[in-house]
Symmetry: C2
Subunit: 206 residues, 2 copies
DNA sequence: TGTACATCAGTGAACGCGCGTTCACTGATGTAC
DNA sequence: TGTACATCAGTGAACGCGCGTTCACTGATGTAC
């Protein structure tokens, strides 16, 4: 009895490991191809399996895509956490530039994020997963603003800050007639303007 | 000779008028259907013509979509212009809420905007058209910040303000578990936080 | 006024494509006895 | 150790669909003489 349980365990672990390999392949494809052009066939090719095999591991395309995104969201969360927890007076300019830089370097996650934000047809259970990732970032920004001694409630500030940084990423990503380098500089510049406007003391009660 | 010119003129005006009817039909479809689901066939059906006829008036799908978007962008530009020109001390809170409200009520334009911002495969000539519309908004925000006596250069502020408002629209549009009304209130609330952070005086030289 | 011809908006049918997903099958591995 | 059976990962082929775009044709309108 113990034996069969262990065997089943090994088996299910193998399954999870193969799932993970598919997700990694998906991330590599997303890094190279615009989100809306990525197909199940692309990912299968990258993973070195038949496209029909994907369906042994994921019930449908949407589930796979959401899992791939959550990987990236987790990394962002980890990075911000380290940055904010490690100091008693975190540098908001640094934080905004890390966030923006990460999502410029890993454009695939930003594409996925905007896709999911725009897509109205997500299953409720998927939405909840994405939302948990978002809440984690809000929580960290809350910590940031608390450490910066902003007046309560800081949650609204966190929402506004997060939204504003996302806005920078979407608004200037295809800034025409600029090199990638120049776009990058401009985004960081604008993110800096935003960080500064969030760090300034505001007249109380206004 | 004069005669034929006039006839040709009438003819080309008729053509433009029919083009405009197709664009209007497209806008109606966009208002009802997610951007990425709208097809040439949908628009033709709405306009009451055969889908093959579209190609008498537009070389391809992209051209039609861009024209449809520019209609909406023009309206936003007009609205902001009125608002900012009409006062010597414009209300930035009012302006942010008008902008956000317009793009919530006319969600199709926001969808198109984000689509074009994310799409890397636009023809250069289309990009230029879209960019002109964007510049017009930047110019108006420049006026706003100048009237608010912000230190030069105000262009960066305009960029940051525009980006931040767009960020609010994309970040909270599918805020889960909220009614449309609650989402609306939340967006306006966050847009208010942003407007406020842009209207506060910031320490000079910081 | 009548006739032959040119133009061109409008169209239904078809083309070619890529997609997500399912199906029926293979073959390797493990299990029961 | 050997044999019959069960499981299930993996697969190539196929299904069914919707799309953007093109084609060959019609028919209304205008032009030339």
């Amino acid at each position: 009895m113990k034996q069969t349980k262990t065997f089943a365990h090994v088996k299910s672990e193998a399954k999870l490991a193969r799932q993970a390999l598919i997700i990694e392949a998906a991330e590599r494809v997303f890094a190279v191809k615009p989100f809306n052009k990525v197909s199940i066939r692309d990912i299968a090719r990258e993973a070195g399996i038949s496209h029909a095999s994907i369906y042994r591991y994921f019930p449908d395309q949407q589930s796979l895509f959401v899992e791939a995104f959550l990987q990236g969201a987790g990394e962002i969360g980890d990075t911000l956490e380290k940055l904010i927890e490690s100091s008693d007076t975190p540098d908001i300019l640094k934080i905004s530039s890390v966030y923006v830089t990460y999502l410029m370097d890993n454009d695939q996650y930003f594409r996925m994020m905007t896709h999911f934000m725009l897509d109205g047809s997500l299953a409720a259970e998927k939405i909840e997963k994405l939302n948990a990732a978002e809440r984690r970032i809000f929580d960290q920004f809350d910590r940031l603003f608390k450490k910066l001694k902003k007046p309560e409630p800081v949650r609204l500030l966190s929402h506004a800050f997060f939204a504003a940084l996302n806005g920078v990423l979407i608004t200037f990503r295809n800034y025409p007639g600029r090199t990638t380098k120049a776009v990058r500089r401009h985004m960081l510049n604008i993110a800096g303007v935003i960080a500064e406007s969030f760090s300034a003391d505001r007249p109380a009660g206004k």
